[in-house]
Symmetry: D2
Subunit: 93 residues, 4 copies
């Protein structure tokens, strides 16, 4: 899963908000990668992915008036290590 979440009502600079989300994800036992456009998190199940978004939203919810979040899920049930595997499949080993 890749997702991005940020407040719309706090002006142009949102990195202090995104920082809190990234720190929360760092505490989780999932492989993740922060990019310029969002965070990629590899969970074992869809439920786990959705729970990460829920936790991220909870960080904002009490002091933000409007939260925007985009998420993309590429779910291959029963498969793991896709974050690394997918890039290798394209780049070669």
């Amino acid at each position: 899963m890749e997702f991005a979440i940020f407040p719309i009502d706090k002006g142009e600079h949102v990195s202090q908000y995104v920082k809190k989300v990234v720190e929360m994800i760092d505490e989780l036992p999932y492989k993740s990668q922060l990019t310029a456009m969002g965070t990629i998190v590899e969970c074992n199940t869809m439920e786990e992915c959705l729970s990460v978004i829920s936790k991220a939203n909870a960080i904002f919810e009490h002091d933000v008036e409007r939260i925007y979040c985009t998420a993309t899920f590429d779910n291959k049930p029963g498969k793991s290590d896709q974050m690394e595997h997918k890039v290798k499949a394209i780049r070669g080993k």
Copy 2:
């Protein structure tokens, strides 16, 4: 929330799969709108939105090898009736 979910491994025609998701959403007590690009669902909380995606994913998970899902959340905590309100704010009453 707007989301789209479909199998990638079942060929070009995915409407029979999407139909099951839409029927599931129709049973839920939320306002929703099916469009050519996805389904918009207005829930009261982020948890409810994430639960809709979880239910949609569960429909596919046992007989699909690869599921793709995109979701966008526009969360205004404590506000309701945004689906109608937002279009009116742009189009006028």
Copy 3:
């Protein structure tokens, strides 16, 4: 194609900005639908779709510091009237 475009640096209420985009699209010779989450535009080619995004971005570019835009394209080369057809394929006639 469905897309949403809005400024991040102008606070919570962005409908006056989105309104300009919608008015621009209304002038174009494409079928379109404004929803609570974005605008669906049916063009004949990918080039036409990308040109709509370019025009929308141009509306903002001189007085906005940060513009966020999400777009999803469902391109069936050579096919038309998909906006209506896709909903019918799911809802039945």
Copy 4:
């Protein structure tokens, strides 16, 4: 900009298609990063970004029946080096 583009009508394994897109992007004079969920490309203008999507779509268009593409643009007019800057703003130097 981050984007992902792939055929829906070619089955579960799409890496040979994505590979062509990545090779095309490698030839371009823009900073880019391939991730498990898409490709991030840093262009100077929105026009350049849209042109990359157009080129990617052209790779598929003659032998694919249905192409799906998602794109997210984070446009800060007049600013450069955001790909690196944004991650640093969150992770610290």
